[in-house]
Subunit: 336 residues, 2 copies
């Protein structure tokens, strides 16, 4: 079985400079993969260089003239960029030319375009972005990571259902534990939206364990954490900032003098071991869940290693049939 | 000049086991400090042991029979625990027996009781909790850290004003830079509350720099970050979880085998240097801002070193006259 992924080659901070090498690496690692590289032909060719013929056979460049800018208003992109690499890549999924789309472009535009072109699953109010994060034990999935602000209690419950089904297949956990992000674990904590979502989840069918605080992300207390997109984004960005500060301080402390430098050399294997275990690039590639097809969002600043991982996530979810399972289980819930 | 601090000796996860040794350490370090230790006399005496006479002179035990539980409903504590160590400590500030109160107890109960007893500054809708966090360059103050959920735009603007005045005196920065926490820096990002608060701050007198994302906390981009208490709590708790995971993974990686252990020994000075620079205990002690007097909230899990720092924060803010400055500058703003 082959799987075809449409890659938005122009998306992300560095465009084809990252997406093309990442695609070649992915083709090398995943023999069942075919890729449609969507974007400006000349820019893409420049980075294709002397691709080995066996990879070249599983790769096609699909020209698209326009580019959605990283800070462009989503509605503007949707209305005016009908020949953008992002839009054309999503169209290819819609037309059945590709099984999934991967983009490191403007998140809002990607979500708006994917919703418009691929449509939301029946009964789903709003798609959400779900991603995995490293935890002390295993890892934690979390949604929404920034697609929706001011989510209603009903939306949070739908996020919990969709996320729970995704985790079930991606992680192979029959009944993933689900926590609702709050600022305390007692029933009286939080705002009315959270309390009401908590009540609905208690009465529902999921393996709901109650409120969790944001440290649960990294402690690995639950398989899935559900939250509004504002809070999800705050948690992720605060973590990125802290990790960056720690890297910066370690560099400073390990270069203070020669003794420190030697200590740093001696500690290198352990530090590298730690770094690789929480390497955010290995977690790159979040899923736009609630759509009829698989769309994966890469971090805009991802390097080729990270973007390759986002392509891998697309292949995995297509293989597992994640959107089909969500659609099927939602229909079952509706019927019940 | 002497400064008297009322310490809620029973608050926090370990009560007098932490608050009493912390008080003794604070008395030793700060010659102008007097302390009223409020709580169950017998429990406190048990931990006072053989206190040196010169410290004993600046210390008085003030008996209070009841204790506010860590998970007690704030309204319940306010109504039923009139002889709690927390309530009595705050009463002592109200009556002028003490200049400030420090508690590691139930945050909601502390805020509710402090508001009820000490009253909010004229014109202030809701007090907030402001704390400092380590940053790549210097440190960052942030509010609200969890006292208020569903803050209105007007409340966020008041937080910005109060926080800005506090940072001005505590840090000695004439016009602290102020950022509003959002999920992107563009004007179109966030919900209506944030956008409207952003508009008001743009038209106001503060040194407002616009929206910031949560990584700005640790990058040290701005002096003060303003946010709703839900988001502030999420940012802090996510950071706590990540820091805990990193400590855990470092321990694992540095104990895998003998070579790793030796590497760990060689790296110890640098690792300790880093640890001490971001030691959360050195940042323990958040201020309940917007009240007529100084009330400091310690982390419930703080050890004696951390709690001592919370007492130090109280002394510093009384010395600087922070609540009086906030009251004065607010009156000036009203008049203008």
């Amino acid at each position: 079985v082959t799987i075809t992924v449409a890659v938005d080659a122009m998306g992300g901070d560095r465009g084809p400079g990252v997406t093309v090498p990442a695609t070649l690496a992915a083709l090398e690692l995943e023999p069942e993969l075919n890729v449609l590289l969507v974007g400006r032909r000349d820019d893409i060719q420049l980075h294709l260089g002397q691709t080995a013929p066996d990879l070249r056979d599983r790769l096609r460049v699909h020209h698209a003239d326009e580019v959605v800018e990283m800070h462009e208003h989503p509605a503007h992109a949707l209305r005016n960029k009908k020949d953008s690499s992002m839009r054309v890549a999503i169209n290819l999924v819609k037309e059945g030319e590709a099984d999934a789309c991967v983009s490191a472009g403007n998140t809002g535009a990607l979500m708006a375009t994917a919703r418009f072109v691929l449509k939301t699953l029946p009964g789903i109010e709003r798609p959400a972005i779900v991603g995995a994060l490293p935890a002390m034990r295993g890892h934690t999935h979390m949604l929404d990571l920034g697609a929706n602000v001011d989510s209603t209690a009903h939306m949070l419950v739908q996020f919990a259902i969709m996320g729970s089904i995704l985790v079930k297949y991606v992680e192979g956990v029959e009944r993933p534990t689900v926590g609702l992000l709050n600022i305390g674990v007692e029933d009286i904590k939080g705002n009315e939206t959270i309390k009401s979502a908590g009540e609905m989840l208690k009465r529902g069918q999921l393996n709901y364990v109650g409120f969790v605080e944001a440290d649960a992300i990294y402690l690995g207390d639950v398989d899935l954490i559900v939250c509004d997109g504002f809070d999800g984004n705050v948690a992720i960005k605060a973590s990125e900032g802290l990790a960056q500060m720690i890297r910066h301080l370690l560099r400073e402390e390990f270069t203070r003098n020669w003794a420190r430098r030697l200590g740093g050399l001696a500690a290198m294997p352990a530090l590298n071991g730690m770094r690789s275990r929480i390497d955010h690039r290995r977690y790159n590639g979040a899923t736009l869940v609630g759509l009829n097809k698989t769309v994966i969002k890469s971090h805009g600043g991802a390097d080729a290693f990270g973007f390759r991982h986002a392509i891998h996530t697309a292949v995995k979810e297509v293989n597992l049939g994640v959107p089909e399972h969500i659609r099927g289980e939602l229909a079952g819930l509706e019927a019940a």
